[in-house]
């Protein structure tokens, strides 16, 4: 059945509406729209969401089959060199588009309430729209150059948004760090793209991935090394954007941006660009198996590392940031065992529950006047019940509690790793299980600390998020001090009592909560042959799971043919184990952070009499604590220090090196005519000396 052409062209409009909205806001935001700037933003993204969802429906109904490519315009075409601008639509694209625009719309609606009264209201929406435009371009691109446009564009938007509260030094630093790390990745990606052109003489996906070269043994043998380099460089590009070790350092710091930005960019969409890139380029990666395995190993390590670090953080947003890094690690683990479907499934569910968690946290932040330290608040479910409920659902999904969305997608990954033909695949699976335990622990640590127990509110509760109205020259502490001077009366006069916020804020939470709770069932039911809907939906993208005909490149390197999408139900054993571990994690967290918050402190004390032994239920909890939680906690501390000093240091050096060189070179710009003359003559003398040397 032929695809509906007009429909396909309307797909090309998906990025256009956010772009239009961004332009309208940029041009008229300051003068005309002002506080109404949210209107074009939300409308633009909502139209895109409708279009994207209808595209999804068309794929589902079979109106469109397989891959559809539409060249809109020949950008450069000259001789043998041509770069078209076109769209490449397959179920993968459609799925990404759908959740990007859908989640964006919800977050935009949320932002209307959240950013109310902010100093640069219109700028915020202009950048957010620009971001959605670039993200959609990235996903829709039919060639690497266009993809690079989107890639750079989301980086630019992210840079502007992280540095949004430019008066905060931390925000400036975070923006700078995000910039440097992303530039590393961008550079790698750019070089990879150039090499791809040199090897394949085209940049278009369809011509590369379906190229007969990839089945040509001679071609592969000739280009084996080059293909490894391409995959390696693409991998580093993906690592930087998706915050994988050692390029993950920017993500936790990027939480300095407004919370909706964290939710949209640094949790739900932009960071998944790396996953998209590798999933899209899976045909290339399957020809460079060592690199693919490296992706898996680094993913596993990152998942574990970030989870342990998350255990010993106190800032809620930071915990979720590390959890994002960790969950992205899961996705790369799946990619590493050539299971794109599992990775994409997790991206899909993660978008819902992570956006939910961030937005709930944003509500907490909004209500508590910007305070996010989990030690300073407790039992706030009493003042903001909706948020508490939503955050609980999000936490259940994140920790992979049986029946919630995270459970199914995580299990898909674990079983894919377990079933992988690669020798070390099962080991990755084990790492994933351990990480699942830790994840459950730190997730519920936050929940129990903050929402359960007695009501304790931080001093700043009731203020707006302070950074939202810090003007140039005014400092966050000043506004806090001002607030404290006003005292309780000031609270009544200036702010409002802590609550769930306006409808615009809690409505999206509830919708996201529904998604977070039930999205996972799409991976189990609704499919064609009794399998999951996601799997059968993505099955036309047969390159996603490395189903490339086996080619022997060098003796001993045999590419396995695996079709993970046929594994519909994960082994029950694995499910049971992971459920048990998650439950254990939740229980431990509940005990230490809800039931008996002192217990953790008591453990450090000396042994107690038997009575206390019995009173303390055989110290089983403490045993767990000693045996599992405490060592992991220490490991987390250690990794956190490593993170802060070593990895950060390396990034710092990379950013610092040009500046340092600059300071040395600065001496040459002495401002004196004579020295400039001497410099010129010296340069020429060196050149002529070189000639003398060469002529001898």
């Amino acid at each position: 059945m032929l695809p509906d052409l007009s429909m396909m062209q309307s797909v090309a409009l998906i990025p256009v509406f956010p772009l239009l909205a961004a332009l309208i806001i940029a041009l008229f935001g300051a003068r005309v729209l002002k506080t109404r700037s949210w209107m074009p933003a939300v409308i633009g993204v909502a139209i895109s969401a409708v279009l994207a969802l209808s595209l999804l429906v068309m794929f589902q109904r079979g109106n469109i089959v397989g891959v559809y490519q539409l060249t809109l315009y020949h950008w450069i075409s000259s001789g043998g060199f041509s770069i078209p601008i076109g769209i490449y639509v397959d179920p993968l694209t459609s799925l990404f588009l759908a959740f990007i625009t859908f989640v964006s719309t919800l977050i935009f609606i949320y932002s209307c309430g959240y950013m109310q009264g902010d100093y640069g209201y219109f700028r915020f929406f202009a950048y957010m729209n620009m971001f959605v435009f670039f993200m959609c371009t990235l996903v829709l691109a039919d060639n690497f150059v266009l993809l690079y446009l989107g890639w750079e564009g989301v980086g630019l938007a992210s840079y502007l948004l992280v540095g949004y509260y430019y008066t905060k030094p931390a925000a400036r630093e975070a923006a700078k760090k995000a910039f440097i790390v992303n530039r590393i990745g961008d550079t790698c990606l750019a070089i990879a793209i150039f090499i791809i052109y040199l090897v394949f003489h085209t940049e278009t996906f369809s011509r590369i991935f379906y190229s007969s070269d990839l089945k040509n043994v001679g071609f592969l043998a000739a280009h084996h090394g080059t293909l490894i380099w391409i995959a390696l460089l693409l991998m580093f590009g993906a690592f930087a954007k998706s915050a994988q070790f050692p390029l993950h350092v920017w993500l936790p710091d990027a939480m300095e941006g407004p919370t909706p930005v964290s939710a949209l960019i640094h949790a739900a969409t932009m960071v998944t660009a790396g996953v998209y890139l590798i999933a899209r380029c899976m045909p290339l990666f399957t020809l460079a198996l060592p690199v693919l395995h490296l992706v898996g190993v680094v993913g596993g390590f990152t998942a574990f590392m970030a989870a342990t670090i998350a255990m010993c953080q106190y800032d809620m947003k930071r915990i979720w940031a590390y959890s994002t890094v960790s969950q992205l690690g899961y996705m790369f683990m799946a990619l590493g065992v050539a299971s794109g479907t599992a990775a994409v499934f997790h991206v899909f569910t993660h978008a819902f529950f992570k956006a939910l968690l961030f937005l709930s946290t944003g509500s907490v932040m909004h209500a508590m006047g910007g305070e996010l330290d989990i030690r300073k608040m407790s039992g706030i479910r009493k003042v903001m019940p909706i948020t508490a409920g939503c955050l609980l659902i999000g936490a259940l999904a994140l920790s992979g509690f049986p029946g919630f969305s995270g459970f199914f997608s995580k299990d898909e990954i674990l079983s894919a790793a377990m079933n992988a033909t690669w020798t070390w695949g099962p080991l990755l699976s084990v790492v994933g299980l351990v990480t699942a335990l830790i994840t459950a622990y730190y997730t519920f640590r936050v929940f129990f600390r903050v929402f359960m127990g007695d009501l304790v509110l931080p001093a700043t509760a009731g203020l707006h998020e302070p950074s939202a109205f810090v003007l140039p020259g005014q400092d966050r502490h000043e506004s806090l001090a001002e607030h404290e001077a006003h005292g309780e009366a000031g609270l009544e006069a200036q702010g409002h009592k802590p609550s769930d916020g306006s409808v615009a804020m809690w409505m999206p939470l509830i919708i996201l909560a529904i998604g977070a709770a039930f999205a996972g069932y799409l991976g189990v039911f609704g499919g064609a042959n009794g399998g999951g809907w996601i799997q059968s939906f993505l099955s036309p993208v047969h390159l996603l799971n490395g189903t490339v005909p086996p080619v022997t490149i060098t003796p001993g390197t045999h590419i396995p043919v695996r079709t993970v999408s046929t594994v519909r139900v994960a082994p029950l054993m694995l499910m049971a184990v992971s459920s048990a571990l998650v439950l254990l994690g939740v229980l431990v967290a509940a005990y230490f952070h809800w039931v008996n918050r002192r217990a953790a402190d008591l453990v450090g004390a000396s042994l107690r009499p038997v009575v206390t032994f019995l009173e303390n239920k055989w110290y089983i909890d403490e045993l767990y604590n000693y045996g599992i939680v405490e060592p992991l906690w220490l490991l987390g501390q250690a990794l956190s220090i490593f993170d802060r000093f070593v990895v950060d240091g390396v990034v710092f050096v990379i950013g610092f090196f040009p500046q340092f060189t600059g300071y040395i070179l600065k001496a040459t710009q002495s401002g004196r005519l004579r020295y400039y003359g001497i410099g010129m003559i010296a340069g020429i003398a060196v050149v002529i000396l070189g000639v003398l040397y060469l002529l001898r």
């Binding site: 600065k666 710009q669 002495s670 401002g671 004196r672 005519l673 004579r674 003359g677 001497i678 003559i681």
Partner: protein, 105 residues
């Protein structure tokens, strides 16, 4: 008309190079703006002698024509230089070039 040998030519080339480099030294060693520009004139003289020697060697007039243009440009630049020197002297009451080094870094 005796033909000029390469050996004789090289004497002139050496002289030209020496004059050129003396001009370079004057340019970078001295601080007086007028002297600095006078040094560039020495460099031009060095180039001129080389050109005329080549002209003699190749028995054509291109080198001499070149020198005419060289002198023209040298004169044009000299007029600019002197104008500039007068302007700068009016501003700072000195011919020291090191005074003019406020922009740097």
């Amino acid at each position: 008309m005796p033909v000029m040998s390469q050996a004789v030519l090289y004497q002139y080339l050496a002289l030209g190079a020496v004059l050129f480099v003396l001009g370079l030294i004057g340019f970078v060693a001295r601080r007086n703006m007028i002297l600095i520009f006078l040094s560039t004139e020495i460099m031009f003289q060095g180039v001129a002698v080389i050109l005329i020697a080549f002209s003699r060697y190749w028995m054509n007039m291109d080198g001499q024509s070149f020198v005419i243009f060289l002198l023209t440009i040298a004169a044009a630049e000299a007029s600019l230089a002197l104008g500039l020197v007068i302007l700068l002297f009016r501003r700072r009451e000195t011919l020291d070039v090191d005074v003019w080094s406020e922009m740097q870094g």
